[in-house]
Symmetry: C2
Subunit: 318 residues, 2 copies
Amino acid sequence: MSIVDKLIEKTIKTKNPTVVGLDPDISKIPACYKENSDNTNPVVAVTDVIYKFNCDIIDTVAELVPAVKPQMAFYEKYGSYGVAAFEKTVVYAKSKGLVVIEDAKRNDIGNTAKAYADGHLGFVETLEGSYTSAFDVDFLTVTPFLGSESLNPFVDVCKQNNKGIFVLVKTSNTSSGEIQDVITKDGITISQSIAKYVAEQSEVVVGKYGYSSIGAVVGATYPEEAVALRRIMPKGYFLVPGYGVQGGGVEDIVPCFNPDGLGAIINSSRGILYTHMSDKERNVCTKEEYLSSAKIAVIEMQKDIYSTLKKNFPKMCY
Amino acid sequence: MSIVDKLIEKTIKTKNPTVVGLDPDISKIPACYKENSDNTNPVVAVTDVIYKFNCDIIDTVAELVPAVKPQMAFYEKYGSYGVAAFEKTVVYAKSKGLVVIEDAKRNDIGNTAKAYADGHLGFVETLEGSYTSAFDVDFLTVTPFLGSESLNPFVDVCKQNNKGIFVLVKTSNTSSGEIQDVITKDGITISQSIAKYVAEQSEVVVGKYGYSSIGAVVGATYPEEAVALRRIMPKGYFLVPGYGVQGGGVEDIVPCFNPDGLGAIINSSRGILYTHMSDKERNVCTKEEYLSSAKIAVIEMQKDIYSTLKKNFPKMCY
């Protein structure tokens, strides 16, 4: 099955086009996870806590959402031990049937871009000339600043290994327009010109629901731009950050979807991981209380988004 | 001492404004490094070879160049074991007095950008609320696609910890112009508008030679663009890829420098690591033969660049 079809089928089954961002922040992880650490290496101790916290969150959400999105920066900041915790998190999430979207915004030129693509989505060469996989995530976010030559190796690896990418097209942050909104000589924005590249590439890997594993990051904070981008990339799947804590409201995500209720997956990280409890509550709660509260946050997000989509797209497919 | 001053003083001492890129490629590392591997984990075996090869290259070049530039993609492709080899390489290079420029082209939004900045250039929080460093490199390459809000956390960490960044301004690859050459409403290219940001930031961290630790990546393959960028960023140090294998000639790098012979550091990766010997020779040589050949490649590159600079800038400071 195409990886985008797996994402879609799990979306339909859970009636929930959302992804839980796994952005570990040790200052916000509840105190109950930090007790009884017996490791003398402080970096190993913190990455152990991160992994255990992730496993509990994954267990809590595995039947409720189609996918998780670990953000590499929050693992890599702890060096190789953090990256090992990332790897274990990916393995655990996949073992629970979740689609794994790695948010790492990687890219470089030529053979270096290929090294990133091979490491995250493909296979890497060993001493004997045989190959093994490294991160083996399902989807990876990719930065387009270096142009199409830098994106092509990722597209190639996706085709070869049934993987997917989300190319940054319009990001959710306040300064995204400085580069992304500049008008090219064709009279369209840079975001739109990248969207045209994505649309071309997405034509060649379309799954049975009519969508492609070559998709785009489109922020919930710019709904008017999303309308234009949806039109340019009818088959590209959208990964949509910016909902919730970053300011995007539930009506803002509607333009990211097609009338079938598909075509986009909405991310929430802090809203599910942390902000459903206050700092004070996180210091005194039990794990059970915390996970129960996180589960309620996931269910409420599902209800908000599903009811809004149903209102806008009464004929959606789930 | 400011980190850019350390880079400059080592450049003057070696009369060599170049940096050796450490881009391990197991298919090109000489066969003599791959013998007698007794590790049964194929990924550990390959990353062990990479680390040993790096150490020998570092020993060979330590007195000849001011800096090395490990390209993270070629380590990260082997997951956490590869990242561990990267970390050990950084420690070894610093122990030999080399400045370490990490080429990772990282970035993201807001608190995620801060996580990258903290992990690569700063300090990260542990369980007890104390802080430790992770990668602790001297300089990091950073991508500007998400705008100034995404770059500011890196600038802040540089100021706090005496570190440096090279912001991608004009990259050396063939498709770099697709985004970077687009003209903004101010009538300048996107590269030039990023250069203006770099110039503003570089004003605030200037070392005793008049240069800043906030610099730019400017490819050797676009010498005309380099002229304009040098003018916009008089104090920003340039990291210059694209010399040699990628097609940039020795005259092409001249516009990246100021008349003092400073302001830029030229990268060569494959030319030093591999292409000084043929595939066939790499399969049969001894380590001593290989390193001796690599040393000659470093010395020849130094001669070419130094004599060209001296010809163009007779009053340069070294």
